[in-house]
Symmetry: C2
């Protein structure tokens, strides 16, 4: 039997600390929630179970999905608008994304950009076209969601929206260092190495938490509210097996060991509703180099199933959820290079027929796929999956195939489901109201995505809705 | 704000009734739970919100999945064993089915057959090979799970296990009439038109329910336990949107309006854990006639994706979850007949090339699929999807195509996720223990299936684990 997920105020000892707002977790959502609560005049204490700030965001690429015409977008020559961004998000984050959150996110994006800049986040207004991840230099903008690929290119005017703090390589650490320092400078107290184990409730209202630190259990009470920003549950295999078993096949968990889902279950134990618990983002990062997009991605039956120029997260989700985690990238010599992480062709053959035999695919399967692809590619067309013309040309044998199955290629999943929250950060209850005294943001919650995704949407919605949750909590 | 999902004993008025065991719902699981609790010596009251017994099972085909060598199986000439049945179930109910439940189900199957017979269920020991659903006559056995199709035919010795009570057409009504009458004869009290709205708790233990009947609210207390057997949530679109949005595309909800998931949320509100909430069974019943299996099923890209001779539920799940709910059945003249529900070919053309154009598929896509299929079919082989040789022969133009998209063809879903329970029927808590005083079975729970399915497994696990839950509840 584990520790209790919630305890009654009457059953806990005296509080070691009493403050206005307690924020559980000090990552992307937590720093912004704490900062916003402090700005709203509250006394704020953040409790972080690890020894430093940043959470999973500090280890991530650090892309923040922002648009509507940010200074970075404009400097790079792109027009964007709230409506255009919302149209993309409604298509890319579905089916059935949380429309209220999508609208609030698009409408809040420009102001959020300014808020981040005001807290010290710098952006180098240059676009790196080669990657959907962190650029090779300090570039501050990437195409991070397949906005310029089918079907989104036909739904909204394409604009890159993946913003990155100015530093080389993955930028999450710098973003989080900046946000955490700004938060502390604003007067937020932080207690590290402090693991929250239980919520404290009083007549149905959340009034505090119990936490462990260095072997000691303490009670922390919050006069106005508790904000849960403690990450998702990618590091909890038992929860994955129960709610999102597909993600167990992901080999490269995007998160920290603190992403154990306990905050979700603590909230559930006081009547919180959850949403989209089965959903995960799954990146399958093949490029750079983009030349590889000239190849075709096929499943275990030698069939194509997606446009190769789309966002890597769509490829990963499709492969894992719909293609039994079996896919391969087939290229010819003109397209071939080892990819960014050193993956190279496992098989190389003179013909498609030989290649399919080597790969263990059914006789004729890959051959038929290549023939059909080439037939249309000769005209620069891809009527099957709508890859953009610039990447479409007939494949010329010899052909090579990259093995993109889990264990060889990286499948990088994290959970997108969690507590159901309002835009305000209030936590929806099983009965359809809200849980009094409780707020949440980030991957502890179900954000704007119901299934689809673009890189930067998690840090994006964590930071923006983290702010909203902190502000609302400060109101008590 | 809805009614409270649970209320404190101290806050409710005097009880109108006090008994040993309260069973919520009087369908497949409820009748068996009530009966078993009564047999174990408890005073039992079943509360059923509709005006009669039977729940969704009374409207269903009525198949009960039983094996291990039942008298019906043996009379029809099939050998089966507990181990063989368990091997099939572990493969068919996965990935990662609940192994403890699978083993208990296979081990309990013969005794459960006898128990059903002893309660008056009669079986006509004849096999109908033509259907995976209710036979055209009183046959008592069908192949209801693709046991004789790839991959299961290679995993376990094929045996039909879909048992049906002896009557013509759908047999669920007779099964449920028999079970309900036996239950009442055994001394179970039943109150119809009585809708349970809340659980009553006392110091963490479930001690009763609040129910509405004819405008009046009453309190019912249970000295030993409350058993939730109130169906799934296929009739609650809000819950589907939150937990199982894919199922919203199913057009033919298998359930009753009482399958609104409230029992699941009532239990969640007192700390119950849920499991597999995203999962649904989705039948796409194409046959009879089986001649249609000689055709090929293709997706919106003109590609095959499954062996056409498999269980219709696997076709439906694959189509809905993995193929964007888009599929077609392509047949030639020798295979063509309108199917059992009068669906006929929407398009008929002289060649595959013409047919794909008519269907709006990409040029060459269906043609390539038919060519590849025919190439292997000429040798009686299907290396792509392993359809059994008896159904494999080249398709000879002209070709026709059935439109199997939702709205044209029936997609018949119901939810498989729900409360996490032990084999005993005890309800697992968020904290990993059990919720005291609470038990559950049937589609209010997550049963033996984590994704896959065979017809008869829902009535099968509802009735068997319903018995276990009732027996355990009677122990207090």
């Amino acid at each position: 039997m584990q520790e209790l997920l919630h305890v009654d105020l009457a059953d806990v000892g005296p509080a070691s600390t009493e403050t206005d707002v307690i924020v559980v977790g000090f990552g992307a959502a937590g720093t912004c929630a704490a900062h916003a609560a402090r700005e709203a005049g509250a006394e704020v204490l953040a409790l972080e179970r690890s020894a430093g700030a940043g959470g999973a965001a500090a280890l991530a690429e650090g892309i923040i999905y922002l648009g509507g015409g940010t200074p970075v977008q404009r400097a790079c020559g792109f027009e964007d608008s709230v409506e255009n961004m919302a149209a993309y998000l409604m298509a890319a984050c579905g089916p059935e994304p949380d429309e209220a959150k999508v609208v609030a996110y698009a409408e809040g994006s420009l102001e959020h950009f300014d808020w981040l800049v005001a807290r010290g986040v710098e952006f180098d207004a240059r676009l790196d076209v080669e990657t959907q991840m962190a650029p090779r230099d300090t570039h501050g903008l990437v195409w991070s969601g397949g906005e310029n690929a089918w079907p989104f290119s036909e739904i909204a005017t394409p604009a890159p929206r993946g913003h990155l703090a100015k530093t080389k390589n993955s930028t999450g650490w710098l973003l989080m260092k900046t946000l955490a320092e700004a938060c502390v400078a604003a007067g937020v107290d932080v207690s590290y190495d402090t693991r929250v184990t239980s919520l404290v409730v009083d007549e149905g209202r959340v009034v505090g938490v119990v936490a462990q630190s260095y072997g000691t259990e303490s009670v922390y009470l919050a006069r106005r509210g508790v904000v849960l920003t403690a990450g998702g549950f990618i590091w909890n295999d038992e929860m994955l097996r129960r709610h999102a078993p597909t993600l167990l096949r992901g080999t490269w968990k995007v998160g920290t060991e603190a992403d154990d889902g306990r905050a979700i279950e603590m909230a559930q134990s006081v009547g919180a509703q959850v949403k989209n618990m089965h959903v995960g983002e799954v990146s399958l990062p093949i490029i750079p180099p983009r030349d590889l997009i000239q190849g075709i991605i096929v499943n275990g039956h030698g069939q194509r199933f997606i446009n190769e120029d789309t966002y890597m997260g769509r490829v990963g989700q499709a492969a894992l959820y719909e293609q039994d985690a079996t896919c391969f990238l087939v290229v010819d010599e003109a397209a071939y290079q080892p990819n960014w992480m050193g993956l190279s062709a496992t098989w190389v053959c003179e013909t498609a027929a030989e290649l399919e035999a080597e790969m263990g695919l059914p006789a004729g399967s890959l051959e038929a796929t290549v023939d059909l692809y080439n037939r249309h590619a000769a005209h620069g067309e891809d009527p099957m999956f709508h890859k953009a013309a610039e990447w479409v040309r007939p494949l010329v044998p010899p052909l090579g195939a990259f093995d993109l199955r889990p264990g060889v290629a990286p499948y990088a999943p994290f959970t997108l489901g969690g507590l159901e929250t309002l835009v305000s950060g209030e936590v929806v209850s099983l009965e359809g109201g809200v849980v009094e005294g409780l707020f949440a943001a980030g991957r502890t919650t179900s954000g704007i995505c119901s299934f689809g995704y673009a890189s930067g949407l998690s840090i994006g919605d964590s930071t923006l809705f983290g702010r909203f949750a902190g502000r609302r909590a400060a109101q008590g």
